[in-house]
């Protein structure tokens, strides 16, 4: 077991982060070179001003018409995304590992807050999953991969909670936590989680079209 821990906390972590970073660079390069090769015209419709206008307006909870049509979903979705990144970046245990490995350090959030957020993230995943079953318009476009992606995202948070509260064997839980997080990192560039990389560009492009050509709000 100790050897497995050393493996997942060392070499596998390096592999996962490398795949994430190199994979992300590859995907962005792929999409941009494809655009350059076949849809160069797209670049002439990009306006930084309107792209940012769109991105900012869609980054404010309950700001857009559709967000107001779905207030609960919007709240859950924002908590989920904020929780995901805040825990990833500001959890004390994560920062401590970075500090001890690389000598870099930054402020952290209290563990109690992180704990609440982790439960919220897992809760949000359950909410998304239930929604996929009970809402017909979502169920219609849902297949097993959608649940798999939710599971992929929920797993590191669930195992993180178990490891933190020491429910179950701490070593095993920590191993599962790291392993599931590594699988998640590796999946980001190659699954629909790639929206993490592409969303600013799809949003920015349509924002530019709506702002610059059509002179109308896109929210």
């Amino acid at each position: 077991m100790e050897r497995i821990y050393i493996l997942v906390s060392g070499p596998l972590a390096w592999i996962a982060w490398s795949v994430l970073i190199l994979g992300s660079i590859y995907r962005l390069w792929q999409v941009f070179s494809l655009a350059k090769q076949k849809e160069q015209v797209l670049f002439s419709y990009i306006s930084l001003k309107y792209a940012l206008r769109s991105i900012i307006n869609w980054s404010i909870p309950w700001n857009t018409t559709n967000m107001r049509l779905h207030p609960i979903f919007t709240g859950v979705a924002f908590l989920f995304h904020i929780g995901f990144f805040v825990i990833l970046i500001f959890l004390s245990a994560h920062v401590i590992m970075i500090e001890e490995g690389f000598g870099l350090s930054w402020p952290t959030i209290p563990d109690a807050l992180a704990d609440v957020m982790a439960f919220l993230v897992v809760g949000a995943c359950i909410f998304f999953g239930v929604r996929r079953i009970v809402r017909p318009e979502v169920a219609f476009v849902t297949d097993w991969t959608d649940f798999a992606l939710l599971g992929l995202v929920a797993a590191p948070f669930l195992t993180g909670i178990l490891a933190y509260h020491q429910w179950g064997d701490p070593l095993l839980m920590t191993i599962l936590h790291m392993l599931s997080a590594e699988i998640l990192l590796i999946s980001i560039p190659f699954t629909r989680l790639v929206h993490m990389l592409f969303a600013p560009f799809t949003r920015g492009y349509i924002g530019s079209e709506f702002g610059m050509v059509r002179h109308v709000k896109d929210w």
Binding site: V31, F32, L34, A35, Q37, K38, E39, V41, L42, S44, Y45, S54, W58, T65, N66, L69, H70, F73, R135, P136, E137, V138, A139, F140, V141, T142, D146, L149, R192, V194, H195, F198, A199, F201, T202, R203, Y205, I206, G207, F210, V213, R214, H215, V216, K217, D218, W219
Partner: protein
């Protein structure tokens, strides 16, 4: 729930008879492989299947929230399987994809405004139409219109002399009202080229009449072409026939260039505006139109603000205003239009939602042009609009778009609404000062 019926259309049926699995596969892969790129890839891979676009769609809303009519539901039934099976889809699948993309989506782009990622679902439906076109499955009636465009450069098989004749006829009529009024043809160096869509000379000639009165009263230096290229409409844009679309727009812009006008002013048509202002210019390699293109709504606003037309009387009864997708979501003219409406009408009652969030007429995007086989389904699929109209409680609706007129007219009849439809130009014609009349 209103059951979806797979409608028999002669064009689709005849096209399907000539299909082979190999041809379908080859065509789909040719279009998706050669004519798409980063956009489609990003759209398909970014979509997390959240379904939040559903409530944007009047088809979905009107058909008891049937998920197969939701925007993403339509993508699921068309683009996804084409990509997943690498073009290996059945003839039956293609027939259904045709009905979905060509008759159950108006390309109104409301869903684009509702997608958190800004995924352009209308673009994907256009791609399906492109494939449908290349497989020769396009519904009969709209294909006939595309043929007309191809043969005559106008939408309605209007012959060259018929066009000139219609204009002369309207000029004669106007001179009964305004003795010195003219419809100047082929006037090189005029400031404005006024262009209309095929149906205007064919059966809505009063619109040419009214526009000419406005031009004359405003004292403008304007002209209309006497050659093909006068028609700004474009159903080829909606059948995925980019080649004919390019020919049409080229003829239109070249006509304006030949007449050395400063700008093109267009009548109250939405799709034509989209084709000249947004789509056709791109096909021809122009980032923005090579000659400024002004839609009637903006033109009226300019005239009013320059003091070229003046309000003589106001419509007393309450009116409502329908925002056409192509000039509102497509050009943001909703506030200018309202300023003009308020100048001529005492009481404007808003529909809800309105402006850039207005519900579509369900006729645009070439849907009404698919003709009688699809009419019942189309009208059935816009009860949401009927409720929206009814809730205003008014009896006069201003709809500054030909397709919207057609669509709303059908809805008004089907749902028994006591409502009259008018173009904004009609209101202006009725209510403006006509000093020489």
């Amino acid at each position: 729930m209103k059951e979806r019926v797979w409608i028999k259309d002669e064009g689709i049926e005849r096209g399907a008879e000539a299909l082979t699995p190999e041809r379908i596969e080859r065509t789909i892969n040719a279009v998706l492989g050669n004519e798409t790129g980063a956009r489609l890839m990003a759209y398909v891979e970014t979509c997390v299947h959240c379904g939040l676009c559903s409530e944007a769609c009047h088809f979905y809303l009107s058909r008891d929230k049937d998920p197969s009519y939701a925007p993403v539901g339509k993508v699921k039934q068309t683009i996804w399987p084409m990509l997943k099976h690498k073009g290996k889809v059945s003839v039956e699948f293609m027939k259904q994809a045709t009905q979905i993309a060509q008759t159950e989506c108006n390309l109104c782009r409301r869903c684009v405004q509702y997608c958190p990622f800004g995924i352009d679902i209308a673009y994907m439906m256009s791609l399906v139409r492109r494939i449908v076109h290349k497989l020769e499955l396009t519904p009969l009636y709209i294909q006939d219109t595309a043929h007309s465009h191809s043969a005559t450069l106008n939408q309605m098989w209007v012959k060259d002399d018929e066009w000139i004749d219609a204009l002369h006829w309207q000029e004669d009529e106007i001179r009964e009202e305004i003795p010195n009024a003219r419809i100047p043809l082929e006037k090189e160096g005029a400031d404005i080229m006024y262009s209309v869509i095929g149906p205007e000379p064919k059966f809505r000639t009063q619109l040419i009449y009214q526009a000419a009165v406005i031009m004359n009263v405003a004292g403008l230096n304007w002209t209309m072409p006497a050659t093909p290229g006068w028609d700004n409409s474009d159903m080829a844009m909606f059948t995925g026939d980019s080649e004919i679309m390019a020919r049409l727009k080229r003829a239109h812009f070249e006509t304006a260039a030949r007449l050395r006008v400063k700008k093109i002013v267009m009548g109250e048509c939405g799709h034509a505006f989209r084709s000249v202002y947004d789509t056709g210019n791109r096909v021809l390699g122009w980032r923005m139109p090579p000659i400024p293109v002004i839609h009637a709504l903006e033109f009226y606003w300019d005239l009013l603000n320059e003091g070229r037309i003046k309000v003589a009387k106001q419509i007393e009864e309450p009116v409502t205003f329908h925002d056409p997708c192509n000039v509102v979501r497509g050009r943001g003219l909703h506030e200018k239009a309202r300023e003009v409406v308020r100048a001529f009408c005492k009481n404007l009652v808003e529909m809800h939602p309105n402006r850039e969030h207005n519900l579509c007429c369900a006729a645009g995007g070439g849907v009404i042009n698919c003709g009688p086989p699809f009419k019942n389904a189309r009208v059935e699929s816009n009860s949401a609009k009927a409720e929206q109209l009814k809730a205003t409680g008014v009896k006069l609706c201003i709809a500054p778009c030909h397709n919207c007129h057609g669509g709303l007219d059908d809805i008004i009849h089907k749902y028994g609404l006591d409502m009259e439809l008018k173009f904004l130009g009609e209101i202006i014609y009725e209510c403006m000062e006509k000093p020489e009349a």
